[in-house]
Point group: C5
Chain length 304, copies 5
């Protein structure tokens, strides 16, 4: 047990020991055990983008067991997926790696400018599948945001009462902001703050750019001289926005890209104090050895 | 008890023994008992298309007992129907054949471009009628899809807790896709994957064509050289999309047509590894002897 | 106790004895006791059309006790009305005649092309008022149909669990069909089938005309040579559509009209095998002696 | 205890003794105790029209205790108000006068052509505040009417189970009828009938004019020669429409006006058999002595 | 224990002792303990306006512990914040200062002319975090007002049953009123009255201007000669509108501004009989010493 993990757990003083047990389980698992850093494997792309777009490139990934094993073999802290994918391996892999049941999802057979996912699982599902936590996506800036916040409130309250960690994907998206604005520094920092205020234990946002979306925010960024010129400074700002560093903030890997591009970004996340990464397509869309190799290089940076 | 059935049941490791009992009941019933293949008789056409369009051609079918007996005499694995049809014979046929209560239905007196069925029964209804499972239709691509997914989530969670199998009809339909796209290979594979992710034990989709509906999918099918030129290859792809073969996927028979056309299609389904068929109009809209004969020929193919 | 009543009750094998008791109570009450035929007095016109339009012609009808007594004196099988009308006499007439609490109603101070009634009572209300059953109106073809079906599903499930009979008024109406189509033979047969599939014990539809509303249906009526040229043949077809005769189907009397016109229609209903009539305005909008006389003539036809 | 009160209570035979106790408490309170007539003080104008418009003219009325005391001192049968006004005096005035908790209210900071009040209290609130009954407003003719009817159904069912009287304000209003139509005799009579059918114990409507709003109704009023030429005849017609006199129907006082105009109207209500009045603005918007004097004159008429 | 606090508590006679305990805790805490006056620190700006706009000016404020400590050190009566901010310090500061869990919030990534906040916490959350009360914002004049009133009704009923104080932010806003109208004297007085009628124990409104928004109100203000020419007179009018002084009404500080401007306004609030202030941005957006100094000057005025 590391003192860093204890320090992080001390931030969650309003939670009962059952929640702390699961947060500790995640932070004491895998290659990064004890460092307070996390690399999580998420595989909801089949639902979000369709099976062929997700798994054809590395067809082993059609099998839900593949991802459980990849997460274990690569030394990840946790594996996150929708109901069906977890159900398909929950017994075989019970207790081998912390799992996070993703409780809402969107598919690409229908899309709208203001996204709204379907709730596809429950806290009771997470309990019967032996999960360490629940995952939930909110889309701030969507006209449907209130419904998502309300769903999260109810699920998070139940999850905390049941001892489950609450992981929130906070992705601003909707007709109210520009496409560029989805990753603007002011918007990403705001998204992290909203997730924290809604009671998330772990917050996932996208790495921000130096674009500033909202005029009212730009005035403050300029007046106060907030430096957003480099990725590490932006990451530090996002973490500050999430309760001055008292919440675990991790970052998504985004679309599949070259290895060096991935690692370069990870270095920036690490330099800015990021708590880790969620890396999906960049890991499971490569042959297993390559995917594991990439994940190990990512972990090495976070250990650095 | 066959080893193939045990193998299939091993895929459902997150379910409790009550669910396995009902899945086994279905797979150990009728002509295909023990093969791991299934032919199910569904009779919801009266609700969906109206009584005359469904039963006038073979007027014996107005009587709900006819279909129970047809399913038994033809050696089907199960019989699926809406509330009223099952209620009308549940006592007489109790335990003689596994039944699946179809929990949502649409009628043709009103239609819209984005379909949304009514929920017409409950898990408690399925229990009091002695059913082996529940059936539920989702229409991915409808703007109402989220409501259907949410309804299914609640019903499936309750059904699993009560030991009932969950059978999902996954039929993409709605203003967001073309009519041709409803049976496009990318769309059908995606529909099977969504149903699996939503927690279905048994998935029913339509036999796919070689049309590809979505541009983002087409790029992948071409880049990865996915062969969709023949029905058996498309079927294999759909089964792969449903968790790499770890879920039972069966196929609908579609509109009434000639015997040879039906059988030719079944041969393709079987060659591709399909787990079976749901054959409604092609069986009960013929005189009973002819309908039984067709069903037996279908079963013979799956035994082959 | 008649063998015909026992035969009819045998059709409801999925219901527990509490429901059978109430179905038997209705069929063993009044002039038609033991015949398996039913004449029911419904008085929801005050709610539907307003008090003056309903009761001014025979002002005794403003008093809710009048209708209880009329139903008893005329030898009806049951009396159906909304909450307030039943509440106003439930104690005085407790056990004297089976009552059916009409659980949804529309008023005429607001109207829309796609009708949607308000739910105005509950299963618990029906129990505390000593009713034999609940009544519920669905409007297939209305864009609001799904909400009605859902409400009916919940109420019917609760009613059956409490031992109450479920009587469904199935009146296709809405922008999706023509005014003529509301009583078209294909539409009325479909409406009866939907009500049966939704779990109704007793189905009330309007006497159908020989109009065929839907093109897809017309093809079948012509191809299969379904004879809808006379009222008795149409009635037989509707009863066939309601599970091949395994459900009680009764017919509404419609707008007030001359005595001979009423009786002529009843003869057609009887000749076609109709299980009876619901006669409201044609009975209570005449002086009591005349109304009773008409009801007795109707019953005589059904006894014939 | 008067025989008239016993007679009135006999109309509510479907209610349990707890409800009768509270109806009796109201009818045996104040100046009109035992007469079967009621004068109720309602003070929801602060919520409906704003505090200054309601209370500035007689500033003592800003204090919620003022109205409790006014109702007691003037000899009213009951006092009706929203949650906050009752909460502010419930302990001090507990048991001194029957109170009616108004469970829904509209404010004037937002308005629409089809009104829909907010539900602002609960049956449990009424119980903890020691109320004799609940009050609820419905707006027949509003496109939102069904939601109001549904809310009333649930609240009324709970209230009756808890022994509370149900008082319904039935005010037709909405884009479907004309402004003149809101007090048309056919519409007011219909509104009283709807409230009775929805299960109200006490019905409050507005004094009707001789205007007839609906064509279908006009035909009947003319054909049957219903005399609506004087207020007393219209009142008698409205009471007839409310179950032939088996329900308590009281009338609102309307906008503030001169004393003689108020009294003249009361004489008409009394002559027609009205069960009493609800008089708000005409009482509390005058100095207390004047308001009490007016109320006493009103009561004197009802005693006459 | 002061007699003034006892006097104020006597206004809440419908509440049980558990609620009185928490109201007393707030009134007996901090510099103003025992005076019946309150200064509350609210920090929901991070959620409402984003983290940088809220905290960049005084970056210590990113840390949720900062605000707990600021409220304690400055001698505030209570500290109000959304779920996440309270969770982040609830254990460390348990019992050190009364807290108010703000149960609904809006963010600025999406906005509409008729605002509608999301519910972001529950009464159970408030209990597990050891709060003294709940906070809830209503926007009268928004077309969504009814939904907010309904949410408040349910939450307030549960909160009172659990012994929590109910603090209502009542901010008229929406397309139905002008921007100037949001702080018009008639509108603010009305807003305070609505909150009181909805059952608030403590009401927060904005300091009103002398603008009158509604024509119907203007007539009364003129006819009755209500003097709204100075802030103290307007404050007295607002307090009168909140049940003639029987409810605690406090005022917001509004946007950040100069110290003297703040204090000048406080003097007006105090002169008019205001019960205190909620001061957020004007306190935590300054360096801690300056913020504390301002708060102490404000308290000194209320002690005067």
């Amino acid at each position: 047990m590391s003192s860093r993990v204890d320090e992080i757990l001390s931030w969650y003083g309003s939670d009962h020991p059952g929640v702390l047990k699961n947060l500790r389980w995640m932070m004491e698992t895998g290659t990064l055990a004890g460092t307070g850093k996390m690399v999580i494997l998420p595989v909801d792309q089949g639902f979000e983008h369709g099976p062929a777009r997700s798994f054809a490139k590395n067809a082993a990934g059609y099998d839900p067991h593949y991802h459980y094993q990849l997460a274990i073999d690569a030394g990840c802290n946790a594996y996150a997926a929708p109901l069906g994918f977890l159900e398909a391996g929950a017994r075989q892999f019970a207790g081998k790696i912390p799992t996070i049941l993703k409780l809402n999802n969107s598919d690409s057979l229908y899309s709208s400018s203001d996204p709204m996912p379907a709730v596809t699982g429950s806290v009771d599902d997470a309990l019967r599948l032996g999960c360490a936590g629940i995952g939930f996506t909110i889309y701030p800036a969507s006209c449907e945001r209130n419904e998502m916040y309300n769903e999260l409130r109810e699920l998070a309250e139940d999850a905390k009462a049941a001892g489950l960690a609450v992981v929130v994907w906070s992705y601003p998206r909707g007709a109210a902001i520009s496409s560029q604005g989805e990753t603007a520094i002011d918007v990403v920092a705001y998204a992290a703050h909203i997730a924290a205020q809604l009671g998330a234990h772990i917050i996932k946002v996208k790495p921000p750019t130096d674009h500033i979306e909202q005029d009212a925010a730009r005035k403050v960024y300029e007046a106060e001289g907030i430096d957003v010129s480099s990725l590490d400074k932006r990451i530090a700002h996002v973490i500050q926005a999430a309760f001055g560093g008292r919440r675990i903030v991790i970052f998504s890997g985004g679309a599949a890209k070259g290895t060096e591009a991935v690692l370069e970004e990870i270095r920036g996340l690490h330099a800015g104090g990021g708590f880790g990464s969620i890396i999906g397509r960049n890991s499971f869309q490569r042959p297993k050895a390559e995917g594991m190799d990439l994940l190990k290089q990512v972990m090495a940076i976070y250990q650095g």
